[in-house]
């Protein structure tokens, strides 16, 4: 079934990538960024709460009121993060279609049968001088079967789960690579497992387990919109990934907390193979580095040709201590070619 290999938000990422073209290297997990002069600035909302309206169209199985309810629950899930100050405000229902550049962030159903692998898509309107997000519109593709049932419904995609993912993009987060996929005989990939709501491939229809944020999602949102009072509670790690002494660009760096089992990840996105993973709970970590081999490299980087995927999974040779309110730096993870 087509829906099993649906990519969420891919078109949005590509569209944004064409416009902006870079990924912020400020912290680990991918965030949308824009180059201002010689700096790369993360895209984020400056005017908080973020106001949004919801379309008044329903689809088979989901009424307009149920759409609003599912979207509202997804917004509240992001708002509930203790370590983040992001806030949202429902500004009403609209019958108007989303118009890029009108300053109104709209979420609703749109029938796009031509996008046969896209469940939802987020598009942005940004101030390229400051990196401020001015507007973000999200559509859910009504060409698919949707559900808002509390326990999910077989063969229908869970609207709240997809809304949670797209709202992550609305915040300024890119895709997470914490997940495993397998090639399907008929083409495309099927997700075996995911460790983040922001993983680019959706779970199978009927599955509702993506209604809960994972540590990687939380770290990303907390990094973009930190709760100032709690910022000193978290720490970071940074270093570089090398192969035969040279820099590795686009390596996926996973930090695993030995106490909490939380997985938070980032990428080596600097020219010297540098990476930083921030918003980490203090503790003892294992650092695992892998090539991006799940989904497609284009799901994560606009500059896919630079991404090195020719190396074996490796671990940093030491356990890494992350202090609260500080960072551990100069880690060098050496990988070897396949």
């Amino acid at each position: 079934m087509i829906a099993r290999k649906t990519l969420r938000g891919l078109a949005a990422w590509l569209a944004l990538a064409y416009t902006v073209g870079v990924v912020s290297p400020v912290e680990g997990y991918l965030k949308f960024g824009t180059r201002i002069g010689d700096r790369i600035v993360s895209l984020r909302w400056n005017r908080i709460p973020v106001r949004y309206v919801v379309g008044d169209l329903g689809v088979v199985g989901v009424s307009a009121d149920q759409l609003q309810g599912a979207v509202d629950r997804a917004f509240r899930t992001w708002e509930a993060l203790e370590t983040s100050d992001i806030r949202f405000e429902f500004a009403g229902v609209t019958s108007a279609a989303a118009v890029q550049g009108d300053g109104v962030s709209t979420l609703g159903f749109t029938n796009r049968p031509d996008l046969d692998r896209v469940l939802g898509q987020t598009s942005f309107f940004i101030d390229t001088r400051s990196g401020e997000i001015l507007e973000a519109d999200i559509f859910f593709n009504s060409a698919f079967q949707w559900s808002v049932a509390p326990g999910g419904e077989p063969d229908r995609f869970d609207l709240e789960s997809v809304a949670l993912h797209e709202i992550g993009h609305l915040l300024g987060l890119g895709h997470s690579a914490i997940g495993e996929t397998e090639l399907r005989p008929e083409g495309g990939r099927r997700v075996l497992a995911a460790g983040a709501v922001m993983f680019p491939i959706a779970f199978t229809a009927g599955n509702i387990s993506a209604r809960e944020l994972k540590p990687d999602d939380m770290a990303g949102a907390s990094d973009l919109y930190p709760n100032g009072a709690l910022r000193g509670r978290t720490g970071s790690m940074s270093g570089r990934v090398t192969k035969n002494g040279g820099a590795v660009f686009g390596a996926h760096v996973i930090a695993f907390n030995l106490q909490t089992a939380a997985l938070v990840a980032g990428f080596s996105v600097e020219s010297d193979g540098g990476f930083t993973v921030g918003s980490l709970d203090p503790g003892v970590y294992i650092v695992r580095v892998e090539p991006i081999d799940d989904a497609s490299v284009e799901s994560f980087f606009s500059d896919a040709a630079r991404v090195d995927v020719d190396f074996l999974v490796s671990y940093y040779e030491r356990l890494v201590i992350v202090p609260g309110g500080g960072g551990t730096d100069r880690l060098e993870v050496k990988v070897t070619g396949k």
């Binding site: 599955n207 695993f256 030995l258 003892v284 294992i286």
Partner: protein, 235 residues
Amino acid sequence: MNGRLALVASWLIVCLAAGRSAQAQGAGAPAPARVEVSASFGVDGGTKFGDRDATLTANGAGRTADSFVLFHTSTQMRRAGVVSGRLAIALGRGLAVEGAMSLNRPSVVTTVQSDVERSGTTFMLDQRLSRYSFEGSVLLHLRALRFAGGRGLPFVDAGGAYLRDVDDGHALIESGRSFHAGAGVKYYFLARRDRFLKAAGLRVQGRMEMISRGFNPAGKARRRGGGAAGVFFGF
């Protein structure tokens, strides 16, 4: 936990035995000095912190999610040498209070196995710690159990300690505490009553510890054993 209870019970029994027989000491045997200093070198036993899996949420058509193991980890603190310095003050009739400061440098080692993309490979990751221990104990000499003509003097001790764990990068500074109980023997080479240096000899001891907090990926109290040998001087 049963081991700890058994240890405490044994210690209490020995204490009772020591008290009952304290009246029957021999007159010529060396007596513990008023102040005693000692230095020792020993081994602190390793500690297993247990296993932990890095898991993802498995995909499935069902409404509940299963776990998908990305890799498996097992972590332990390896046994390490420990150096200690002690100062004991006699309270009378074989009872003494003792303060000690110890340093050891254990390695914490995590074994990573069953990586979903490197299933046949085992990775060993480590981190070296410095552990500083500041402890206080009550020490009871078992005079009734002296041997070797009175030169051998068994004792039992129990107490607690404040721990400070620091990693080599000084990124982690963790505090903890421990409770210990143990037993040992002092062997006197020198025993005299009318000189500044009243006693000297060897000291050997073993103990069990319950440690909470400090560097502890498992998050729960853990037990370890240890032993040490050294010299003491009584004044």
